[in-house]
Symmetry: C2
Subunit: 215 residues, 2 copies
């Protein structure tokens, strides 16, 4: 029978050793995903690179999916930085274009890790943890800010819709192009095609005069 008299730690948040192993496992998994993609990820290889036994992974994380979530959170953070840097100091419209181009560049330069952001599926029963969603939100918040600046009269909820639509459209163009599906937009035309497309959207949604299209 286990007692807890307050002198041993109750949860996993206080162990520096455990955290160190977790970090080594995330590092190893990230390296492996960079080299072999999400489907090339192997628990045995990760633990070997991290310097622990196979079972150690399951002491540090619930399962392999949870480890992937941590790698993906890192990737989202780096994407977030790339976007923030690209739009810094720009006016809203220029910022929206900069976001699209930064997203495109990031996807190209971090192909395997970026793929994993979308290829990774968690089982139907499990749900995406809140801490991970916040990493996703950080990325899209830049779009929300620009839309808010362009259309201040838009209700908050509608701004989220517009931001999601804008972001998703750009993502779709990049994704289909890089995956070479359907016609496969050639990568060497990707930037100009996106720049043109963003121009369409901005002129279409805001009018040539930048007038506020409330609704």
């Amino acid at each position: 029978m286990l007692r807890n008299n307050g002198k041993y730690r109750i949860n996993e948040t206080m162990s520096a050793k455990r955290d160190a192993l977790r970090m080594k496992l995330i590092d190893a998994a990230e390296q492996q995903m960079k080299a072999n993609g999400l489907t090339g990820l192997r628990a045995r290889d990760i633990t070997k690179d991290a310097g622990c036994a196979l079972g150690g992974l399951y002491n540090a994380f619930g399962d392999l999916n949870e480890l992937v979530l941590h790698v993906n959170a890192r990737t989202l953070d780096r994407l977030n930085v790339a976007i923030a840097t690209a739009r810094k100091g720009l006016a809203p419209k220029e910022s929206l274009l900069a976001i699209a181009l930064a997203y495109t560049r990031f996807a190209q330069e971090n192909r395997a890790l970026w793929d994993a952001l979308y290829d990774h599926k968690i089982p139907d029963d499990a749900e995406i943890p809140a801490w991970f969603r916040s990493h996703q939100s950080n990325v899209i918040s830049h779009v929300i800010h620009d839309i808010a600046a362009l259309q201040p009269s838009l209700p908050e909820k509608t701004r989220l819709l517009r931001a999601s639509t804008y972001f998703s459209a750009i993502h779709g163009i990049v994704a289909i192009s890089l995956q070479g599906r359907f016609l496969g937009l050639p990568a060497d035309h990707l930037y100009e095609e996106i720049e043109r497309f963003v121009g369409y959207i901005l002129s279409g949604s805001l009018g040539a005069s930048g007038k506020d299209l409330a609704d």
Copy 2:
């Protein structure tokens, strides 16, 4: 030592029995994917449903990936019909909107099979067979026709780029929304958001007067 004196068939294209088994396997795989998704696909379940031994799958197809390609080709054909039906008799701009909405509806109503179109990855060494690419091309050809009608002066190659960009953007909006990633555009706003978005693109790219934006 095997000889061939011309009295036995040389390749696999002439056997009705073999084709019947292939069809049963595709049917079984399709049913399984509908119910359990691509990741729920199991060679043992498929062959049991199709009424053959486990190894039979590997007589009919090279491997499981090849079988998935056949299911996906079917799905693309049904998507193609859905789009063709939706745009029939419409003017180019209305057709482009109809395509987007039909794509959205198809994705919602055939979620598991539609997911498999994009989730299925073939190994790096193998490449997508030409017969499969033609199924993909049929779907996007509708977009190409409408763009050709709207901008007849556009070079053929540029039309393909524009069609790919348009299709991919719509796909991205639908995909991110249905997967609930990032903010997750709520499904009940999906149609109106797409309709608005297409309006932006059409007015942005063609001008209010429908003038031809060459190049």
